[in-house]
Amino acid sequence: MGTANNSAPRGDHPPNAAKSLPRWMGHESSFSFSAHHRVIARQYFLLSLAAVLIGIVLSLLMRLHIVWPELRIPFFGQIKPEQYLAYMTMHGTLMVFFVLSVAPQNAFGNLVLPEQIGARAMAFPRLNMFSFWTTLLAFMVMVSALFVAGGGSMSGWTQYPPLSAITSAGSGQGRGTDLWIVSIAIFCVASLMSAVNFITTVLRGRVEGMSLMRMPLTVWSWFVTAMLTLLSFSVLLAAALLLFSDRHWGTSFYLPAGLVVNGAAVAGHSGGSPLLWQHLFWFFGHPEVYIAILPGMGVTSHMLSTFSRKPVYGYRGMVYSLLAIGVLGFMVWGHHMFVAGISPYAVLAFSTLTMVIAVPSSVKVINWLGTLRGGRIRFSVPLLFSVGFVSLFITGGLSGPILAQPAVDMYLHDTYFVVAHFHMIMGMAAVFAIFAATYFWFPLLFPDRMMNETLGRAHFWLTFIGAYATFMPMHFLGLAGNPRQYSQIAGSAKYLQKLLPVHMFITISAFVLAAAQFIFIYNLMHSAARGKFSGANPWEATTLEWEIDHGQKLTVHHDPYVFGPREDSRRDYTMQSEPPYTYKS
């Protein structure tokens, strides 16, 4: 960024390291049982980094299998169709649960939230520690499914019965699916504990003067996300309990009579409804989409304001639209079930409510653009990724109202159009927000170091182009009728043959996109060890996480985003904790 910083102590006394740990909280090391939110944040961050690397490898294997089904990969062999399905399940599950639910909320929430509200610690540090280690346990159980006999579950991250409820239905449907259910149940408990912690911290831990309407938008988004987590993960837990019961205790919640698997009739079940699972799952699943993206929205608002040196355009509108999205998110689960055979009246209601979500979403987009307009923009890497977020959010969001039309969705539902939609908005947009947050809060994540700007720019442009090149063509595949979840398209279905070149292009783009992440990993490791020192407030931001903790009383006197020239100094920003500004006569 290169702007001078007035008050940055440098050298031997890095300011953020000065926020030392209370003794009972344990060590600084990332590999220890520590109750300090900053250490836990780093642990969550590394966990999601591990998950995302596995997820990327799985997606590349899938892309290879689609275009070259006969390919023998060195040290690995040929990918079998059932392996493809197992990789698809694991890719989806790891990315949705262990990356998109963990990194934005738990990693950066823990890192920044308690400091942004001046709480100095989470409400329940030991509970926080317990949440992390439980999440890690869930992760290990999930990944172990890839290595058991039969391989991972084949029924997708949504685990629709009857496929998921019958243990004999496929190679991964035995132990692989059991491990999936157990892992998700553990993950639910960990997420609920974490959500309780977040909400309590926001409600009870704010310093004097930090009223709700003075909280940074990041805090608001973590707060709303935690509420969504609290209300949705319990339902998933209930649904998973019933699924486990169907699989092992002989009940028929989801299993109807007359099922035939591999030519053999399935005995002992009758009267259940697979739709019941879909209702319960998507009552969780749709809020989960917002759990992934809402923190990204908060981070983007924060970055755009900080780097255009302007207050957030329409702060209250941002807060209310965040709440509106959170509330509406619980009312639209049926739009995942338009082709599942639900009542047309229900379809009408779900379709209308889904389109209503476009309103608060548009409020946010317009306010982001309004924040940028007329600002003195500093084109640093976090800003680039945030603008990338807005771009991807618009691109991916526009296909949302399209898919909300039941008649159009009939055609597009099981095609690549949906794959393109959710990878754009939930996958890539959220990941861009994670990147922005990583570059921005790196001095807190790895004390007092900055990431390299040049590498960051290269990373941004390659990722941005790679993301569009990978996921944009999928819209056209979907419009051309290419179904999802097919392990090969070059088989007997001749009408898909002519789409093969597009798939080739996507596969190559995916490899470029993955390769670009090596720049990020290198930058991360290099900067953590020997990045340049950040100083106290490297981005000249206004919020409390950049405040040096002198152990003194902290009081908030200002709104979160106060930018503008001051007469008493050359600064153009006023930190939230500064005393009320007095003009010289």
Partner: protein, 250 residues
């Protein structure tokens, strides 16, 4: 950028338009008006930690109730389930209500009694004269007053769990198992899930009793007893709800 007008000294004033709505007197958060605010969070008032635990407890209870709301919706949906014979076009429902074991009435009574006893225990740890006495270091009267009630609650709670177990055994003896009928599946799932949650309450109350025995600080004992008691009440309400569901929504 328009320059602000020149103002008299020492006047706080709205900042230039670009800078938000300007300073206002700090709004008091949490404990209005007392003088504990120089302390870090967690030490800003005599009851701050207690209030924080109560907020967390409320959130935990929300998630527990949502779990059972999810199960309830599955219960209602499953009641309409059945098999459609495609040759005749006849739809046969397969839900056959089970007779709820009579011992559940006794269990309900035990749980309601235990709710009363835990309330006595909860009130004992907050009684002003005793708390003052402990605070002055003159003894531990709250411990002596609350422990018997805590112990009685634990006994009654275990009695409830044993009663539930007997109810399951009675159903099994009648040939009704988990997979017999959707109604029996839900009976075992709902009562089992409730029993597990009650077990959680027993663990918290055991911890509260242990905290008394081990002479933990009064604040810790208050928090453990208070939150354990409210959780226990909530589990009682939850049981009444489940029992009503099993009795009336057949």
């Amino acid at each position: 950028m328009p320059k602000p007008a020149v103002l008299p000294p020492h006047t706080t004033h709205a900042e230039p338009k670009i800078g938000g709505r300007g300073p206002k007197p700090p709004a008091s958060v949490g404990l209005g008006g007392d003088d504990w605010k120089n302390n870090p969070p967690g030490r800003r008032g005599p009851r701050e930690r207690l209030k924080r635990f109560r907020v967390a407890l409320g959130l935990v209870l929300i998630s527990v109730f949502v779990l059972f709301i999810g199960l309830t919706s599955a219960y209602v949906v499953r009641q309409g389930g059945g098999t459609l014979d495609t040759t005749t076009g006849v739809f046969t429902r397969d839900w056959k209500p089970i007779a709820v074991p009579q011992i559940l009435w006794l269990n309900t009574l035990l749980l309601l009694l235990s709710s009363a006893t835990i309330e006595f225990a909860r009130r004992q740890v907050f009684r002003e004269p005793m708390v003052t006495e402990e605070w002055l270091g003159l003894g531990t009267p709250t411990r002596r007053a609350s422990l018997p009630w805590l112990g009685l609650t634990l006994v009654l709670g275990f009695g409830f769990l044993v009663g539930q177990f007997v109810a399951w055994q009675q159903l099994n003896a009648q040939g009704i198992f988990m997979a017999t009928n959707p109604s029996s599946s839900f009976f075992f799932i709902l009562t089992g899930a409730h029993a597990l949650h009650l077990l959680g309450g027993i663990i918290v109350l055991t911890w509260a009793a242990l905290a008394s025995v081990l002479s933990r600080p009064l604040e810790s004992r208050q928090i453990a007893t208070d939150c354990g008691a409210w959780y226990w009440h909530a589990m009682g309400v939850l049981w009444l709800y489940i029992f009503a569901l099993l009795l009336f929504v057949k």
